[in-house]
């Protein structure tokens, strides 16, 4: 009885601790958001969103930055998602436990651990210099794609792993080929998990500044990019640029830009969370 009381006490204590931890996270988040909102919200108006960058804080806008961010997101998605999901599927569903598969697996775990700044160095050399893409959108998107590829692969694999063997058995037994089983059963059933990976990777890509700085994207670009080979800037870089200005007004601009950046990620997350919960409710065993 005493033991059980102890256990129950521990249980309760953990519950309290759990609530506490969850709220630490939420409170810090609230502090951030409130702080940024107070500082930046008054700066946001139509002009701010549609203006080009400027040396004068009051005239500077984020048109090129958010346009660049959307471009980068689009290009990165197009490059990284098919590649990442395909690689995840291959490793989990297709590859036999050969040396190559094992090597691939370790390799990807390693890539996931490679710091973003090193991807910056890679992007600068390979895309920027050797392929001659310089500080263009394509060069930035390729760099970020490499950066998020391992995240997508790893989470895709984890999601696929969670699909019970019995579901595959059932499908194979009905004469489905490997790909049919993957496409019709495994991918739909793991889609919730894959989406989580995509959310995390995209939100990482959207907030990433360091590798883009290294490939040379920290720039004054007074026009909206119209093709993947154009130069660009993105919101985090614009924010970084503004926070290092001496004039305090630029910090207000930075806060305002952060609000917009968060808004973009919220919308992204919102879509993905919605899709994910839809899938998760559908798939339960």
């Amino acid at each position: 009885m005493t033991n059980s009381d102890k256990n129950r006490l521990k249980d309760k204590a953990f519950q309290v601790f759990g609530i506490f931890c969850t709220f630490i996270g939420l409170v810090v988040l609230a502090i951030f958001l409130i702080d940024i909102l107070i500082e930046g919200i008054s700066r946001i108006d139509w002009d701010f969103i549609t203006s080009l960058p400027s040396r004068r804080a009051s005239r500077a806008g984020i048109l090129t930055a958010w346009a660049g961010t959307l471009w980068i997101l689009g290009l990165t998605s197009v490059i990284a998602f098919p590649l990442g999901i395909a690689a995840g599927v291959y490793l989990e569903e297709y590859s036999k436990k050969t040396k190559l598969a094992n090597f691939l697996e370790i390799n990807i775990a390693n890539l996931a651990g490679v710091p973003s700044i090193i991807y910056g160095l890679l992007g600068m050399e390979i895309f920027g210099r050797i392929l001659g893409l310089g500080g263009s959108l394509l060069s930035g998107a390729l760099t970020l794609s490499l950066l998020i590829l391992p995240i997508i692969i790893v989470t895709t694999r984890e999601a696929i792993k969670a699909v019970p063997r019995s579901i595959r058995d059932a499908s194979y037994a009905l004469g489905a080929s490997k790909w049919q089983t993957t496409w019709n059963q495994v991918l739909p059933a793991s889609f919730g998990g894959i989406l989580t990976g995509i959310i995390l990777s995209l939100s990482r890509a959207v907030g990433e500044a360091a590798p883009l700085i290294v490939i040379g994207a920290l720039a004054y670009v007074p026009f909206v990019p119209t093709s993947p080979t154009d130069e660009f800037t993105v919101l985090p870089i614009q924010i970084f640029n503004w926070t290092s200005r001496p004039q305090a007004d630029f910090l207000v601009n930075a806060a305002a830009a952060i609000i917009i950046l968060l808004l973009i990620t919220f919308i992204l997350n919102g879509i993905a969370v919605y899709l994910r919960s839809k899938w998760q409710n559908k798939v339960k065993w």
Binding site: R55, L218, A219, F223
Partner: protein, 311 residues
């Protein structure tokens, strides 16, 4: 006279500039960036079809691209190094160095610091030279009448042109200083550091001091050379411009590529730059050069352009 200057500049170039098109790639120092950005922004009104992009890769990164012919103009807070120059030559690129403004490195302390009224270059050297590392730790080691308290040092990151220049001017040898100080390439971070640390002494660009005057106290610097101002001198527009704030004022440059100088939009842009640099540099927190200096630079550029055209 900034406004007047701008107007003159516009009047001088607008007829030609309006028809220009093409693009101009600029990259380089983060210190020069705000000036170039301001010029590019104004130039847009003159020549809306010219796409000017201004990158921030640092002077080193800028020169690298410049030497390989990837960009038309390099922003620089230091002169080109021999190695960089020889790479440019290897790529058949010659260049012209144009000064566009001054930056005054400002020595600052916490506003509550009531003991430091001024400081000499020799004292600064004593604080910052490599030999000071681990030894000069208290204020009273510099001047006996200063308190027996720790001194906390803040300064530009070692990879920055600012550091380069400061060590050159104070210690006498570039890249030669103690290492146990708090460094950041982001001057706002240094502002934050000094303004919250009563025992701090730091240095950074004049613009950052100017914008944070209430949080910081600038220290007059005495170079003990009466030729350029007697006694300790505070950094200001005037003292930097007239050269009396020595040795901590430094020129900022742009470098123009000879091949780019053959393109009318680049020529127009550079002329526009020199015409407006005085007003615009002041606006973004730097110190303009005297008017005649800009004339000299313009002439130098003219000569370079005609030289390049001959080739």
């Amino acid at each position: 006279g900034g406004d007047k200057n701008t107007k003159e500049g516009e009047a001088g170039t607008s007829e030609v500039a309006g028809d220009l098109s093409g693009s101009i790639q600029i990259d380089g120092s983060s210190t020069v960036y705000p000036i170039t950005e301001a010029v590019a922004e104004e130039f847009r009104a003159e020549a809306p079809d010219v796409k000017v992009t201004v990158g921030v890769s640092g002077s080193g990164g800028g020169f690298k691209k410049f030497s390989r012919g990837e960009i038309d103009i390099a922003d620089a807070s230091r002169s080109i190094k021999a190695s960089e120059d020889s790479l440019a030559k290897a790529n058949n690129i010659s260049h012209v160095e144009l000064s566009v403004a001054y930056d005054g490195l400002t020595v600052v302390v916490h506003p509550e610091n009531n003991w430091v009224k001024d400081i000499t270059v020799a004292e600064l050297k004593k604080i910052w030279e490599p030999a000071a590392q681990g030894k000069i730790k208290k204020w009273n080691q510099i001047r006996p009448e200063w308190p027996d308290k720790e001194i906390h040092l803040y300064g530009a990151g070692v990879e920055s042109g600012t550091y380069d220049y400061f060590t050159e001017a104070i210690v006498g040898k570039s890249h030669s200083s103690r290492g146990d100080y708090t460094a950041s390439e982001d001057d706002n971070v240094l502002v934050q550091g000094v303004s919250t640390d009563p025992l701090a002494l730091g240095f950074f660009g004049y613009a950052y001091y100017e914008e944070n005057q209430t949080k910081l106290k600038a220290v007059p610097v005495d170079d003990q050379n009466d030729a350029n101002g007697k006694g300790a001198i505070l950094p200001s527009m005037e003292s930097v411009k007239d050269g009396s704030y020595a040795p901590l004022s430094r020129p900022l440059f742009i470098y123009v590529n000879s091949k780019a100088a053959a393109r009318p939009e680049v020529v127009n842009f550079v002329n526009f730059y020199l015409d407006n640099a005085a007003a615009l540099s002041q606006e973004v927190g730097y110190i303009p050069m005297p008017a005649e200096k800009y004339k000299e630079e313009k002439a130098k550029f003219q000569q370079f352009v005609s030289g390049a055209a001959k080739k």
